[in-house]
């Protein structure tokens, strides 16, 4: 069976800066994988490359065996990769439900169908009761979940979550982890960029560590925290702090 996502020697250069340096990894069809690393390690750039917001300078990205590197973002979304943004980007003029409906319009033109799918996505992340509310009424955790619901409504096979738990208090983050687990059990593959190692240890089955744009380690959370290079370059400071 081919892997769901396959990065092969992917690099991205911004002028003199090599933001992503020859990164290769594979994701299987299900489960939660975390992409971790210190600030500026190239996690978000890596995400943007997969989601098509940026083309890679070098290397190839395959999704379900097909090359997708260089495709525009909307095509990649339609192939089955949903993404959230680190800085939440709701459409302010629309209600919560309408925001989520936009994602559903990637596979249907029927407003009623989109509305049903949006309600379903909102229920999945626990925002169902706030469907008719305006964006300004939402708290930060709600906004993060709205981003997730928007990505879910596109009916992805792979979900890219960019720091959906950043800035959340521990009980809020735990609630998000529970949501992600439920989604993974439904057969979704989730790749999350995360900063807080404790959350990663709890949520992910597989961890990929980036440092200065390059992959320095990959494995189970237990393996990662004992990896000498990871401890020296990243965890060491975080754990001491």
């Amino acid at each position: 069976m081919t892997d769901l996502l396959e990065l092969d020697g992917v690099s991205r250069r911004f002028g003199g800066l090599l933001a992503v340096d020859n990164v290769s990894f594979r994701l299987k069809g299900e489960g939660i994988t975390a992409l971790v690393g210190p600030n500026g390690a190239g996690k978000t750039t890596c995400f943007n490359l997969i989601a098509g917001a940026l083309p890679p300078t070098q290397g190839s990205i395959r999704f379900g065996g097909e090359i997708i590197s260089g495709f525009p973002a909307e095509d990649i979304c339609r192939l089955g990769i949903g993404r959230t943004f680190q800085v939440v980007r709701p459409m302010r003029d629309m209600t919560v439900l309408e925001n989520v409906m936009i994602g559903a319009f990637s596979w249907t033109r029927k407003v009623s169908e989109a509305r049903d799918a949006a309600r379903e996505a909102l229920d999945m992340v626990g925002l169902g009761p706030k469907a008719e509310a305006g964006i300004s009424r939402l708290t930060l955790p709600d906004r993060k979940m709205l981003e997730t619901a928007k990505a879910l409504s596109t009916r992805p096979r792979l979900l890219l979550l960019d720091e959906v738990m950043a800035g959340l208090r521990p009980p809020e983050a735990a609630a998000v982890v529970a949501v992600l687990r439920r989604l993974a059990e439904r057969g979704l593959s989730i790749l999350l960029v995360e900063h807080v190692m404790r959350i990663v240890m709890e949520a992910a089955e597989h961890v990929i560590v980036l440092h200065h744009g390059a992959k320095i380690a990959e494995g189970t959370p237990r393996y990662i925290v004992s990896h000498p290079e990871v401890v020296a370059g990243y965890l060491g400071e975080a754990f001491r702090a």
Binding site: A51, A53, P72, A73, E74, C77, R78, R83, F85, R89, M91, R92, D93, M94, E98, M101, I102, G103, F105, S106, W107, T108, R109, K110, V111, S112, A114, R115, K150, A151, S153, T154
Partner: protein, 343 residues
């Protein structure tokens, strides 16, 4: 129940809309010739304003050269009717097709090369001015001397779209009703949702699978075709077309005042806004002429715009809707209390 309520416009809103149009239709039977011709122009500018308002208010694309599409529609009707004796209906269809094609080409070229926002708006001005100059020097379409429709004689003819002032009043009123309905339907369809999302955040909507490149071309092309119908009707009402008056910057600016004042992208905004600003413009220029202050109408326009943007930044229509909503909420609350008292 819930689904029905969101999927269709409110029954009250539809009835209110029909009542408003019934009143306007009845006015068409009783008003004096001056008001008839003034309102006819108001309706035509509303109709063209609606096309502009869809493009900016929903699609997020600013055009300051909509006179291009208005002119294309006007010349299509005029040339086919005056030179070949064809029914203006053909001219309207040809004008729509031409304007849609030109709009799509302009948008394609522009968005293909990442010309966006205010730069796209500049490009629309350039395109409109370019075509005005071309039409001014083009003998076949009358050049600077323009084209004149033959004077109306005989009974009103719906087929030839020729008639007296009252006839055009009803034709343009029907156009506005069509425009209001089309705007409302688009807002409720997937296009309305997708266009609004694209307007608010292009990159975020692309990440949700919205093909923004296609939709931007679509909304410009659609708006252009719509404006061309308005241009064709305007030519018939005025009885003549001149490049400077039908394709000039004046038209491009005049049509955007109403929608901005009334409420961008809404179904009723362009009508309310144009109903207020255009008569104000006429009134101000009449006063100006009387006291020998030419240009007073422009000052009036400017003041109306500033007042609207200052006091009601979303436009008059959204303000009316919001206050109506809070009134219904209040009265509903009142009823509830009454019932409790009864118990």
């Amino acid at each position: 129940m819930q689904k029905k309520r969101d999927a269709l416009p409110d029954r009250g809103a539809v009835l209110g809309c029909l009542a408003a149009f019934a009143v306007l239709a009845m006015l068409g039977g009783v008003l004096n010739p001056y008001l008839i011709s003034l309102l006819t122009i108001v309706f035509l500018f509303t109709f063209i304003g609606q096309s502009w308002s869809i493009m900016l208010g929903l699609g997020g694309q600013l055009s300051i050269g909509h006179a291009l599409f208005v002119g294309i529609g006007a010349y299509s009707v005029a040339v086919l009717n005056i030179r070949y004796g064809l029914s203006p209906w053909f001219g309207l269809v040809v004008g729509m097709a031409l304007a849609a094609t030109i709009g799509a080409t302009l948008a394609w070229l522009s968005f293909r090369f990442e010309v966006r926002g205010i730069y796209f708006a500049l490009l629309t001005i350039a395109a409109a001015e370019f075509s005005r100059v071309v039409f001014s020097g083009w003998e076949f379409v009358g050049g600077m001397q323009g084209l004149f429709f033959p004077a109306q004689s005989g009974p009103n003819s719906f087929w030839m779209l020729r008639g007296d002032a009252r006839f055009y009043y009803f034709v343009s009123l029907a156009a506005v009703l069509l425009g209001v309905s089309a705007t409302a339907l688009i807002r409720l369809s997937f296009l309305g949702y997708v266009w609004r999302a694209m307007r608010d955040d292009e990159d975020a909507s692309r990440a949700l699978g919205v093909r923004t490149f296609l939709h931007k071309i679509l909304v410009v092309s659609f708006s252009g075709a719509w404006a061309a119908i308005g241009g064709g009707l305007l030519a018939l009402v005025q009885g003549s077309v001149f490049p400077d008056s039908i394709m000039g910057m004046g038209i491009s600016v005049d049509i955007l005042v109403g929608p901005i004042v009334g409420g961008l992208g809404t179904a009723f905004g362009p009508l309310i806004g144009t109903l207020i600003t255009l008569p104000l413009d006429h009134l101000a220029s009449a006063i100006g002429n009387k006291f020998g202050i030419p240009g007073l109408n422009n000052v009036g326009y400017g003041l109306a715009l500033i007042a609207a943007v200052w006091l009601l930044p979303d436009g008059i229509w959204p303000a009316i809707v919001n206050s109506a909503k809070s009134i219904t909420r209040l009265s509903w609350f009142g009823n509830l209390q009454m019932e409790q008292v009864k118990k």
